[in-house]
Amino acid sequence: MATADFDTLRQRLVPAAGPASLSHGMLVFALAPAELMPTVQRLKGEFAFDLFLDVTAVDWLGQTPRFEVVHHFYSTVHKVRVRLKTRVSEADPSVDSLVPLYGSAAFMERECHDMYGIVFRGNADLRPILLYEGFVGHPLRKDYPKQQEQPLVPYRT
């Protein structure tokens, strides 16, 4: 990554997406849930972040708001990644779905919904993907016990 390009991009991005921090060479933006969709629209439209890399969440159990939804984007033009962090509360763990902008978001949001119970408004298909129909709870939440079992086929006795 050429440093000059990165700095130029940073100077243009920060007014558009709000205050940023730099973490291990990546620009990180902390957003309110309502800002997510407009920010991503600008990232994609104006700054050529054409590849939606990843969405996941971090469960900061004991803090409020409890969940942090983390999106990663990559620009194949600028060869730069950005990270967006959106805090959502336990009572309303929902953010806008990015499916209208990136097709790849559909599967990854399903996984995040499986694992953390984050609701992606606008993603019509939040069926279980790594888990199975009828699974109770969200296993990557910190209050889901690691040893808990939900066998789909009863154990032979």
């Binding site: 990546m26 990843d54 990663h72 790849s104 599967f107 790594l130 009828g134 690691k146 789909l152």
Partner: protein, 405 residues
Amino acid sequence: MDTPLANPVRSIFEGKLRDDTVIVNIGPSHPATHGTVQIIAELDGERVLRTDVHCGYLHRGFEKECEDHTWHNLIPYVDRLNYVSALINDFAYCDGVEQLMGVQITPRCRYLRTLLSEYSRLVDHLTCVAAGLMEMGAMTAFLYLVMIRDYMYEHLAALTGARVTHTYGRIGGLARDLPAGWLTRLEEILTQYEDFIARVHALVDRNRIFIDRLRDVGVISTADALHWGYTGPILRSTGVPRDLRKDTPYLAYAELDFDVPVGIKGDNYDRYFVRMREMDESVYMMRQLMDMLPEGPINVDDRRCTFPDKTLVYSEIESLINHFKLVMDGPSVPAGEAYCAHEAPNGELGFYLVSTGGGTPYKVHVRAPSFVHMGGAHRMLDGGQLADIVPTFGSINMIGGECDR
């Protein structure tokens, strides 16, 4: 058992498109798909109208398990993500942890990791191409390639102690240095590889059956590929030279001379050829690296992550305590978060690591290329023939271990 088993999967199809179509399940355990994946397809005769791809049958709670082990203890788990190229997983993960710790690996380790990453890529592509050819009946080509692959597995076992899941990366270095004569044997294998890969080229490249089965099948455009998150050989097969080794160089890639092969129209034939050409580039890079490989230590001298020498552990108290703390508490990784991406054989393999300080990760998330690729697989399968599902799915090279985690 009194009650019937519940279906673990609910299809997205609510009824059929037309009266004369049929909905079939392909998989999850099907002899022609390598990988445990279920494709629910609606067929009009032999034509695929729409598909619903389900993965998750290999889900084993990797990310949950990671939160309960020290940073070091994750390395064997990481191996089992993409178990065909375990070394690249190791190095990408270790690189992420090293970023968090601010550790600079030694020059010899950097070159060795690059060399072994390319070796792993070679093994992975050999497997993918061989399996894809076998599924179309090219048994000779399959045996040629798998024979070479087995030489490589044995050769890697001589270095790491295991054929497939090597557990060779260490935070701040590698498990052990090269044994005597290892590079000589590597050159022998590469020479044999060139001989057999030439035979495979001669057998299939201009073969009518092969071309008819692959050309213009499973086509995807660059814009679609980006929209659906494709990276790696699939994105390159559409004609764009997007490769992390060139775009955001890591390890020693900035010092190497290599090309990024691209396809023309993003069909199965292009994906076959991109992989074949990438293997040649890997061999070219490995030969450069064998010449560049410097002498020196393979582990950083950092007590936070590197294990002390065994003789010191048995003879002095400081090293004994150091060893004990590293085993019991794990390496002390400062609080922070890092996303570290390497160019894996299938595409961008990213590790998103969150630390709150201490020896155990707070969160480990893997951006697995196979999983993302499954999300867009229906774009390649819809509209094709039923029989094309097998080679198209083969050319995506879905690896269950990293897809389902």
